[in-house]
Symmetry: C2
């Protein structure tokens, strides 16, 4: 709050005229960037492609606000609105997951990407800044999102005996 105020060359209390408290301010910041990606939806593309794009969008959006990702993981309620949660579960049900697995799958995907964002935020890395062995932050996310998708594919296959509708 005080940092924001001094950035605006204003008294700390001036900020409170526009915003209820720190939480409110961060919620606004999140709402601003989260409008960049829509709700997760299965439109035409494979669920794998839709999920990949969605997760990468979240990561790219939050990577632009260093520290916000770290803050969000402390407030799981901000980014997981009831509608967002329902949309994610619906997405995985549409993709062929049973209801319980759909919820677990959505939680899994979000948990991973938020963990990644939080780690990146605290390591202070820009997406393309090189790290150990020349690996960039983006390489870690790309690998991670691929692994998330591959893992969910495997789990989905266990529950959906065959792509075509097998009776049992």
């Amino acid at each position: 709050m005080r940092a924001v105020a001094s950035e605006l060359a204003v008294t700390p209390m001036a900020v409170y005229h526009y915003v209820d408290d720190k939480d409110h301010l961060l919620r606004l910041a999140y709402e601003d960037i989260s409008s960049a990606w829509g709700p997760l939806r299965l439109t035409g593309r494979s669920w794998e492609d839709a999920l990949r794009e969605h997760l990468i969008s979240i990561w790219e959006g939050l990577a632009r606000y260093p520290g916000l990702g770290a803050y969000l993981i402390e407030r799981p309620n901000i980014n997981v609105t009831p509608e967002g949660l329902a949309a994610g579960i619906q997405f995985f049900e549409d993709a062929g997951f049973p209801p319980v697995e759909a919820r677990l799958a959505w939680s899994y995907a979000l948990t991973y990407i938020h963990g990644r964002i939080s780690v990146d935020a605290h390591l202070g890395h820009r997406p393309e800044a090189p790290r150990l062995e020349g690996l960039r932050a983006r390489d870690y996310v790309t690998f991670g999102v691929d692994a998330v998708i591959a893992g969910l594919q495997a789990i989905r296959t266990q529950h959906a005996p065959e792509r075509a509708g097998a009776k049992t």
Copy 2:
């Protein structure tokens, strides 16, 4: 610090006689519980079983110190010692991953489990406390760890053409 002191019915400054600062105290707490799980090693068992046990151990250990997991994700340097990092990479190389993928795989597994711990910490959940639809915190981790492993299996298979040594 002040909370610790009052818990011990002592002045805040008394704590500083035993500990350099807050960071030091938390590092000690982490060292205490991390001794419960050894370094990740491939001894006899399949890498899948070894990894599963390791990740679950981390989760169970940190779940007993609510808030510590949330704090650790802010300090990626505490829990990822050079030795721990090297051991993890070695583990995945032993499991048949190429060097770069081994590093990415290890980072991936740790990122997921820390994300999970952090979310659990902030939701204030005990491992067996029931959540939405009767799912317990443990169900989320079990699903997640299975998904992590399944994802890594798929990636490993891409790089290791067949279990038996194919020349190409």
